[in-house]
């Protein structure tokens, strides 16, 4: 089963670009609104001032959230994905032991999966969470840069 695909990289990139385009459109709408309020304000400008302050705070807060969380996370994911896809693949058999929950590497959240590979326990990370892996089942694992790319069941024997 394919966990990471080449096309995911271009999908992530287009998702990021789309998100940025939405942000730019919002910024333009925000700018138009505040300029309109500013230049059409009357001498008794208190309501216009309050309106502009609220709009600016709203857009400013969204910008901080956007660049520190949403856009930033997507950019980090894209970079990590790029690194994974360009790494040398390694194929080996491993017995699935358990999930060790989420781990964060360089700002990207993975599910840490524990396998027994050639007698040693080894953690392999997965971008996708909740993969349908069965405990004790042996899989042929293909990983790149420590990230699971594909897996398939070797046989049904429990160890």
């Amino acid at each position: 089963m394919q966990v990471v695909e080449e096309k995911e990289l271009s999908a992530a990139s287009s998702r990021r670009k789309k998100l940025f385009a939405v942000y730019v459109a919002l910024a333009a709408a925000f700018l138009a609104a505040v300029l309109l309020l500013f230049f059409f304000s009357k001498h008794d400008y208190a309501p216009y001032l309050v309106g502009n302050v609220l709009l600016t705070m709203g857009f400013g807060f969204y910008s901080v959230y956007f660049f520190t969380v949403r856009y930033f996370d997507l950019r980090k994911y894209e970079k990590y994905l790029e690194r994974v896809l360009s790494a040398i693949p390694s194929k080996e058999y491993g017995v699935y032991l358990r999930s060790e929950g989420n781990v964060t590497k360089e700002g990207v959240v993975f599910e840490a999966l524990l396998f027994r590979i050639r007698g040693d326990e080894r953690q392999i990370c997965s971008f996708k969470q909740g993969l349908p892996l069965s405990q004790g089942e042996e899989y042929l694992l293909e990983s790149r840069a420590g990230v699971l790319v594909t897996y398939e069941v070797r046989d049904g024997r429990a160890l």
């Binding site: 500013f38 400008y45 600016t56 400013g60 901080v64 969380v69």
Partner: protein, 184 residues
């Protein structure tokens, strides 16, 4: 988004705080500058004495529909810094100047104040009328706002005023209003 936004608020609180503070400060400044009264919408009064009650600024601005603001600058004639402030403020940017008679007499009015058409009891220097004496009724009524001394007071209009014939005639109207002021 709610949980992630709350987490972001905790982690990046300084950035959110800076955004909030800048929003308020920059817009307040921008609106203040944009709507600041133009020179022809305000009258600047220089009073040689102490101002008791600044509510006069609102009272005076309310008396003229064309004015948005009246500002009073003052300096105590007995203070060491008076001469400096008098020259700096009264002759540069003030529209109406209220002086004790002794200060007016000590000023070479020809260089600083406008010659005026006689209207009421005028203050003369070298035979030229440069100001109007504040009548005792007006002085008494204005005493609620200004700390007048025993002396007589003169209302003059500096030559540098843009509201004395350059942009408007508001300074003359204001002088007339002051001289006729009887309502405390």
């Amino acid at each position: 988004m709610g949980a992630r936004f709350k987490a972001s608020l905790r982690e990046e609180w300084l950035k959110y705080l800076i955004v909030a503070v800048l929003s308020v400060a920059l817009w307040s400044m921008a609106f203040g500058l944009y709507h600041a009264p133009r020179s022809d919408e305000k009258i600047e009064v220089f009073f040689a004495g102490t101002v008791k009650d600044r509510s006069f600024e609102k009272v005076a601005a309310g008396a003229f529909s064309e004015l948005r603001k009246v500002e009073i600058a003052s300096a105590d004639p007995s203070a060491n810094t008076f001469a400096h402030k008098y020259e700096l403020v009264a002759f540069n940017g003030s529209d109406v100047v209220i002086l004790p008679e002794s200060v007016a007499q000590g000023t070479y009015c020809k260089d600083s104040y406008l010659e005026q058409e006689p209207c009421g009891e005028m203050f003369y220097q070298e035979g030229v009328a440069y100001g109007v004496y504040l009548p005792s009724a007006a002085k008494e009524a204005l005493g609620a706002y200004f700390d007048f001394g025993e002396e007589r007071y003169v209302v003059l209009i500096p030559g540098s005023s843009v509201n004395a014939g350059v942009l408007t005639d508001h300074a003359f109207a204001f002088e007339k209003w002051l001289v006729g002021y009887v309502q405390a």
